[in-house]
Symmetry: C2
Subunit: 453 residues, 2 copies
C-alpha cells in the first residue's frame, strides 16, 4: 500500500486549487490527485466549445499547476474508502493510505427521468467530460434541429452558441417565465430573453416538455406542454447539476438535505482528516444564512484556497464567511451579471430589501465608439443600508464591475458609505464619474429607505 500525506479525489478547479495551495504551504508533504479522465475541461468554457472555440481541445484544463507545484496525478477511479485505517482502493486495484483526504468530486448533470423519451438515442446532456463533449460536438455539428431543455446559464449559452450556425434551428425550452430566473430579477431576465431571441434562438418560456418523441429508438421531436411539436435531431438537457456524492455516501460521510457532503466553514466533514470542497460540498449562503446549493467554479476556488492554506493547521481565517453567488454571462454581445440576493432570492428567503436602479452608458462621453448601455441595480437592507445584492447589464466591463458589488457585500458596505466610494474612471474604459452607475443606484436605494421611514 502506497502512502501519500494528502490524497485529493477529483481534478476540477477545486481539486486543483486545493492541491496547488496546500502543496505550496507544505512542500515537504506528498500529494496525490486521483481523477477519472486524463483530460479535463474548463467547466464554464464548455458552451463556447460549440462555436467560438471550435474544438474541445481549445477548452482543455489539466492539473499542470498541481504537477508543477510537485503533486502526483493518477488517472483512476476510487471505489472504496476505509476511514478507520485511512486507506482507499481504486478501480484498477491499487491501494493507498493517506493522512488527509479531500473530496473534490464535483457535480454531474441532472437527468429528468420523469420525462418520457429521456433515454432515446440523441438525448444528451452537458456532462463535464472531455470525451463526452468531444463526441457531443460531432453530433451537434451533424444536427440541423437542436432542442435545448432548460434556460439556466448553460442552456442559454449553448443555445446562443449553436444558433450562430445559420443552418441550424435551435430551440430553447424554459418552464419559468424567463430564462436565468435564479440569477436575475424580472426586468433583467426579460432583457436576457430579448437577447436570446435576437441571437436567433427560438425561445419558449413558461413551457414544459411533455414528452420526447422518437423513431426507431432515436429522438425525432419534442412535444411541449402547449401542444406544439418541434423537430429534433438532438435534444440537450441543461436542467442543472447535482453533487457527485456516491462515493462519499458509500464511505459513510454525512449528506445534507440538498444532497451535498456536510462540511463546516473550513470544509471539514464529520470524519477527522476528511474534507470536501467545490460542487460536491455544502455551501452556507452568505446572505441567506442557510444551506444553499451554490455550484460555481469561482466560489469553489475561494473555498479551495482557504482549505489549501488550512489543511494541516488553520493558518488563515476564512475572510468572508458564507458562500456568495456571483454570476456573469454574455448573450448576443450583451453582458449580464449578478451578485448576492436578487429580488426573488430575498423574497424567498424572507429578507427585507429596497432597490436602487440606475441606467447610463459604459463610456464617457457616450459618443465614444464602443459605448454600450449600462444598467445597475443595488439591493440593500432597509434597516441598516447594507448592500446585499446587485445586478448589472451592459458591455464586457460588467464582468469585473460585478466584483466591486461582490466585495461590497462581503465587506458589509452600506449604501450610505458607498456614496463616497472613490472609484477610477476613464472615457475609453468606464461610465462617467458624475454618473457612476453603482454609486447612483446606491443613492437611489437610500432614497427608497427614506421613503419607508
Amino acid at each position: 500500500m502506497k502512502n501519500h500525506d494528502v490524497i485529493i479525489i477529483g481534478g476540477g478547479p477545486s481539486g486543483i486549487i486545493t492541491g496547488v495551495t496546500a502543496k505550496k504551504q507544505n512542500p515537504e508533504k506528498s500529494f496525490l490527485m486521483i481523477k477519472e479522465e486524463e483530460k479535463g475541461l474548463v467547466p464554464c468554457g464548455i458552451p463556447y466549445i460549440f462555436h467560438d472555440l471550435e474544438d474541445v481541445s481549445k477548452n482543455a484544463m489539466g492539473p499542470k499547476p498541481f504537477v508543477d507545484a510537485g503533486g502526483e496525478v493518477l488517472v483512476d477511479k476510487v471505489t472504496n474508502i476505509n476511514f478507520d485505517n485511512k486507506s482507499l482502493t481504486t478501480e484498477s486495484g491499487e491501494e493507498f493510505s493517506y493522512n488527509k483526504l479531500v473530496f473534490a468530486t464535483g457535480s454531474t448533470p441532472t437527468i429528468p427521468k420523469f420525462i418520457k423519451g429521456y433515454d432515446l438515442d440523441g438525448v444528451e446532456n452537458i456532462k463535464k467530460s472531455y470525451g463526452y463533449i468531444d463526441q457531443l460536438m460531432k453530433k451537434t455539428d451533424a444536427a440541423q434541429n437542436i432542442v435545448v431543455i432548460g434556460g439556466g446559464f448553460i442552456g442559454v449559452e449553448i443555445a446562443e452558441q449553436l444558433a450562430k450556425y445559420k443552418d441550424k434551428v435551435v430551440s430553447l425550452i424554459e418552464m419559468e417565465k424567463h430564462c436565468l430566473y435564479k440569477a436575475f430579477s424580472v426586468d433583467f431576465a426579460l432583457k436576457a430573453d430579448i437577447e436570446i431571441k435576437e441571437s436567433g434562438v427560438n425561445l419558449y418560456t413558461e413551457t414544459k416538455v411533455e414528452e420526447i418523441l422518437g423513431k426507431d429508438g432515436k429522438v425525432s421531436s419534442v412535444k411541449l406542454s402547449t401542444g406544439k411539436v418541434i423537430n429534433a435531431d438532438i435534444v440537450i438537457f441543461c436542467v442543472g447539476y447535482k453533487p457527485r456524492t456516491d462515493l462519499a455516501k458509500k464511505a459513510g460521510l454525512e449528506i445534507n438535505s440538498r444532497g451535498m457532503i456536510r462540511v463546516d466553514n473550513y470544509r471539514r466533514t464529520g470524519k477527522k482528516d476528511v474534507y470536501a470542497v467545490g460542487d460536491c460540498a455544502q455551501t452556507l449562503g452568505f446572505i441567506t444564512g442557510r444551506t444553499d446549493n451554490i455550484m460555481l467554479a469561482s466560489t469553489a476556488t475561494a473555498e479551495a484556497r482557504v482549505l489549501g492554506y488550512n489543511l494541516f493547521n488553520i493558518k488563515l481565517l476564512r475572510g468572508f464567511t458564507g458562500t456568495l453567488s456571483v454570476f456573469s454571462t454574455e448573450i448576443n454581445k450583451k453582458a449580464f451579471a449578478s451578485a448576492g440576493a436578487i429580488e426573488q432570492v430575498a423574497k424567498e428567503a424572507n429578507i427585507d430589501y429596497v432597490i436602487g436602479q440606475f441606467k447610463d452608458v459604459d463610456r464617457h462621453p457616450g459618443t465614444i465608439a464602443d459605448t454600450y448601455p449600462l444598467e445597475a441595480k443595488i439591493i440593500a437592507n432597509p434597516e441598516n443600508g447594507e448592500i446585499i445584492g446587485g445586478e448589472l447589464f451592459g458591455g464586457k466591463g460588467v464582468g469585473e464591475m460585478i466584483n466591486i458589488v461582490s466585495l461590497a457585500i462581503q465587506k458589509y458596505v452600506t449604501v450610505y458609505e458607498f456614496v463616497s466610494f472613490q472609484f477610477g474612471t476613464h472615457p475609453l474604459l468606464t461610465t462617467a464619474p458624475t454618473k457612476y452607475v453603482l454609486v447612483k443606484a446606491a443613492e437611489l436605494a437610500i432614497a427608497q429607505i427614506k421613503k419607508r421611514k
Copy 2:
C-alpha cells in the same frame, strides 16, 4: 441684490454633483451655479477630441442634471466676495447674497514660464475650456510637426491620439525616466513607454526642454537637453494643473502649502458656510495621511456627493476618509490602471510595503478570440497585510477591475482576507477562477510577508 440659499462657483464635475446632490436633499432651497463659459467639457475626455471623437461638441458636458434638479445657472464670473455680509458681485455687475457658498473653481494648466519661448505663438496648453480646445483642435489639424511636453496622463493620451493621423510627426518629451511615473511603478511604466512608441509617437524620456525656438514670433522648433532640435508647428504643454484659487485668495480663504483651499474632511473652509470641493480644494491622502495634490474628476465627485448630502446638516458620514488616487488610461489599445500607494509613492511617503505580482490573461480559456494579457500587482502593508495599492495592465476590463482594488483599500481588506474573496468569472468576460490575478497577487504578497518574518 438677489438672494439664493446656495451659490456654487464653477460648473465642472464637482460643482454639478454638489449641486445635484444638495438640491435633491433640499428641494425647497434655491440654488444658483455661476460658471464662466456656457459650454463645458468632460475633463478626462479632452484628449479624445483630437482624434477618436473628431469634434469638441462630442465631448460637451453641461449643467443639465443640475438644471433638471431645479437649479439655476448664470454664465458670468464672480469678481468679489464679502464673507461678512455673505454676498458676491460678478463681472457683469450683478450682486447676489447667499446662505451657503461653494467653491468648485477647478484647476488650470501650469505654464512653465522658465522655459524660454513659452510665450511664442503656437505654444499651447490643455485649458479645460470649450472655446479654447475648439480652436486648438483647428490648429493641430493644420499642423504637421507637433511636440507635446510632459508625459503624464494628458500628455500621453493627446500624443497617442494625434499620432493616429499618419501625416503628423508627434513627439512627446518627458523629463523622468518613464511616462506616467506618478501613477505606475517602473515595470508598468516601461510597458506604457512601449505602447506609446508602438502607437507611433516619438518618445523622448529623461529629456528636458532647453528652449522653444521661433521665427517671427511663431514657434518653429524645440531644443532638447540632449542637444537635439525637433521641428514644431505647434507645441502643447501638458505639465500638470494648478488649483484655481485667485478668487478664494482674494476673498481671504486659507490656502495650504500645495496651493489648495484648506478644507476639512467635510469640505468646510475656515469661513462659516463656505465650502470648497474638487481640484481647487485640499485633499488628504487616504494612504499617505498628508496633504496630497490629487486632482481627479472621479474622486472629486465622491467628495462632491458627501458635500451635497451634508451641506445643510451632516446627514451622511464620509464613508471613506481621505482621498485615494485611482488612475486608469488606455494606450495603443492596452489599458493601464493603478490605485493607492504604488512603489514610488510608498517609498517617498516612507511607508513600508511588500509586492505580489501575477500575470495571466483576461479570458478563460486563453483561446477566446479577444483575449488580452493581464497583469496585477498588489502592494500590501507587511505588518498587518492591509492592501495599500494595486496596479493593473491588460484589456478594457482593467478599468473596472481597479475599482475592486480601490474598494479593498478603502475597506482595509488584508491580503489574508482577500485570498477567500468570492468573485464572479466568465470565459468571455474575465480571467479564470483558478488564476484570478488579483487574488493570486495577494497570495504572492503573503509569501513575501512570510519571507520577511
